[in-house]
C-alpha cells in the first residue's frame, strides 16, 4: 500500500505497479515487481523465457488476476475487466491465432467496430502493409502476415496504450523494419507502448526505457544506453598487432590472440587510444582493424541475466 514517500508528479503515469505478486502453485512467477511507465513512453520489458514477462503483461492487460500488489493502468484497475478500460488499450497477443475463416478486412472491421472511435479499416490495412491481401482469408496468410494482422487489431481502436508482446517474432528483416517504423509512428502520436521482446536491437531501436525481469523481479532498469551501467562501462580497444611492436605503449603490451589481434579493456579509452595512435603515427604504422567498442545492450543484458541466474 502507498507509503507516502513517492512524490506524485502532475503528469499521471500510464502504468503504475507496486509490489506485484503472482504465484502458480508454489512458484512465484512474479515476485514483487515495481514499475512506472510514463504517458507517451515506449517501454521494453526484457527477460528470459519464464522470467515473468508475459505474466506481468497479462495482468496489466486484464487477462490474468494478481495475487497481490497495486496496479493502475490509465487510472483503471485492469482486474475490474471494465469496458471503459478495454476501449483505451490495444493488445497484440503472443502466439494467438486470428479467426482463420475471416478475411483481413472482415476481421479488422469486426474488431474496429467494438471501439467508440476506431481507425478506418482501410487505413489500418494500409498501415500494416496488407492492402494487397485485404480480401484474403487469414488461414491463407503466412505467419508473418498474420502477425501483422495481430498488430492491426492492436491499433484499430486508436488506443492510448498498446501492449506489444513480442511483436516481430518470426518476421523477416524488412517486415521487422516496417513494424519498427510503425511503432515510431505510434510513439510520435503520443501513444504509450509496453513492449516485450527477445531482440536487443529491437529494444535499442524502439524504446525510451527498458527493464530486465528475471526470477519474477525487475533486476535492472534504465534507458537502453545506460542500462546496467552501460554508459560508464569500460570500452574495448582492439587491433591487429603490427610487426616489430616491442615498444608498444601500455596497456597494449599483451599477448595477441591466435589471429594476432590485441584486445584490451580500458576504463580510460581516450587517453589510452591517444598513446596508441601517437606511437603508431610516429612509427608510420597503419593499425589494421582498429576498433573501439562499447558493450552492446545485448552484452549488458546477458551479463545481468547470467548474474541473476547464478543468484
Amino acid at each position: 500500500m502507498g507509503n507516502g514517500q513517492r512524490v506524485t508528479s502532475p503528469a499521471v503515469a500510464a502504468i503504475e505497479v507496486k509490489g506485484l505478486v503472482k504465484h502458480y502453485g508454489d512458484v512465484a512467477a512474479v515476485d514483487g515487481v515495481d514499475l512506472t511507465i510514463e504517458t507517451g513512453e515506449v517501454f521494453a520489458l526484457l527477460g528470459p523465457n519464464g522470467a515473468g514477462k508475459t505474466t506481468t503483461v497479462e495482468i496489466l492487460e486484464g487477462h490474468r488476476d494478481r495475487d497481490s500488489g497495486e496496479v493502475r493502468v490509465l487510472g483503471f484497475d485492469p482486474a475490474s475487466e471494465s469496458r471503459d478500460y478495454r476501449e483505451r488499450i490495444g493488445i497484440v497477443l503472443q502466439s494467438t491465432s486470428v479467426i482463420p475463416e475471416l478475411s483481413v478486412r472482415e476481421v479488422v472491421d469486426l474488431f474496429g467496430n467494438m471501439y467508440p472511435k476506431p481507425m478506418p479499416t482501410d487505413e489500418v490495412i494500409e498501415i500494416i502493409g496488407l492492402a494487397d491481401k485485404a480480401d484474403a482469408r487469414i488461414k491463407t496468410l503466412s505467419g508473418g502476415q498474420v502477425r501483422r494482422v495481430d498488430l492491426g487489431l492492436g491499433i484499430v481502436g486508436d488506443p492510448d496504450l498498446i501492449f506489444l508482446d513480442e511483436p516481430t517474432t518470426g518476421f523477416d528483416p524488412s517486415a521487422r523494419r516496417s513494424s519498427w517504423s510503425l511503432v515510431h509512428n505510434l510513439r510520435s502520436l503520443g501513444k504509450t507502448i509496453l513492449l516485450t521482446t527477445h531482440y536487443m536491437d529491437e529494444a535499442q531501436n524502439l524504446s525510451d526505457r527498458v527493464a530486465v525481469i528475471a526470477g519474477g523481479k525487475i533486476v535492472a532498469e534504465g534507458s537502453p544506453d545506460t542500462l546496467g551501467g552501460r554508459a560508464g562501462a569500460g570500452a574495448r580497444v582492439s587491433f591487429v598487432l603490427p610487426d616489430g611492436s616491442g615498444d608498444i605503449p601500455e596497456p597494449f603490451r599483451v599477448a595477441p590472440s591466435r589471429e594476432g589481434i590485441v584486445e584490451v579493456a580500458t576504463a580510460t579509452p581516450t587517453e589510452d587510444l591517444h598513446r596508441l595512435t601517437e606511437w603508431a603515427v610516429r612509427r608510420q604504422i597503419e593499425l589494421e582493424r582498429l576498433a573501439v567498442m562499447r558493450p552492446s545492450l545485448e552484452d549488458v543484458y546477458l551479463a545481468i541475466t547470467e548474474e541473476n541466474e547464478d543468484g
Binding site: 512467477a29 505474466t55 497477443l93 467494438m114 471501439y115
Partner: protein, 278 residues
Amino acid sequence: MADRPHLAGLSWRQFRYDNKTFWRTPIAAFFTIVFPLMFLLLFSALFGDEKIEIPGRGIFSVAQFYAPALAAFAVGSATYTNIGVQVAFARDQGILKRFRGAPLPSPAFMAGKIASGVWIALLAATLMLTVGVIFYDVSIALERLPAAAITFLLGAGCFASLGLALGSLAPTGEASTAIANATYLPVAFASDVFIAIGEPPAWLEFIGNVFPLKHFVNAFQDAFNPLTSDLAMRPGDWAAMVAWGVVGSLIAWRFFKWQPRESSGRSVRRGRKAESPA
C-alpha cells in the same frame, strides 16, 4: 460515452461473424445441414413406398413422421454440437482471449453465438421440412404451426444453452467434438429420432425421458402428426426443455472461460524447471 457502439449492433455483428465462420467451415455445414437430410433420403429409400393409411384422415408417407424428427435432430446439432465445438476450438486458438481483450461485452458475444446457432437451426429445419413437403408428400397443418414455432424456439434455445455448457466444460477443441458425438448420438437413438420403437425397454425409455431431445422430437412430431387432433401444445415437453436450458445456462455461467488452457501459466513453470540447476 455517446459514440460507444450499441449492444444490439455489437450482437448483430457477432451474429454475422458466427454465421460466416459456420458457412466457411464445410465440415460443420455438412454435418448440420446435409447429414440429417441424408437420413431422410435413406429412410425414405428403405421404407419409401410404404404409405400409412389412417382411416378418416387420409394416406401418409413415412416421411410425415421422420421429417419432423430429423428436423429436430438437425436443430439439436446446429445448436448443441456447433456452438459447443466452436466455443472450445475458439478458446484453444486464443480467439476467445482476443475477444476478451477487446471492448466486446460478453452478453453481445453470447447473444451473437446463440442467435447464430438458432438461425442455422431454423434453416436446417426449414430445409428438412421443405424437402419433405416437395419430395415426400409431407403435409403441414397450419393450425399446429404456432405449436411448431414454440417447440422449435424452446428446443433450439435449450440446445444452444447446452452447447455453451459443452463448450465450457470440454477441455480442448478435439475433446469437444468427441464429447458432442458421444452424448448427442446415443441420446438421439433413445429419443425416437431414427427409430420409433413401439415397446422400448424401460431403461431406454427412461434415458429418452430424462434428456431433452425426446421431448423436443415428440413435441415437434406432434405438430406435424396427422393423428394429432389438438393444437399440439405440449407444456410438459416444453417444461423439460426449459429445465435443461436452465441447467445448461448455469453450467456455462459457472464454467465458461475465455483463456486457453495451454497458457503462459504452465510455460512459466516449465521454464523455471528447465532453468534450475540440475
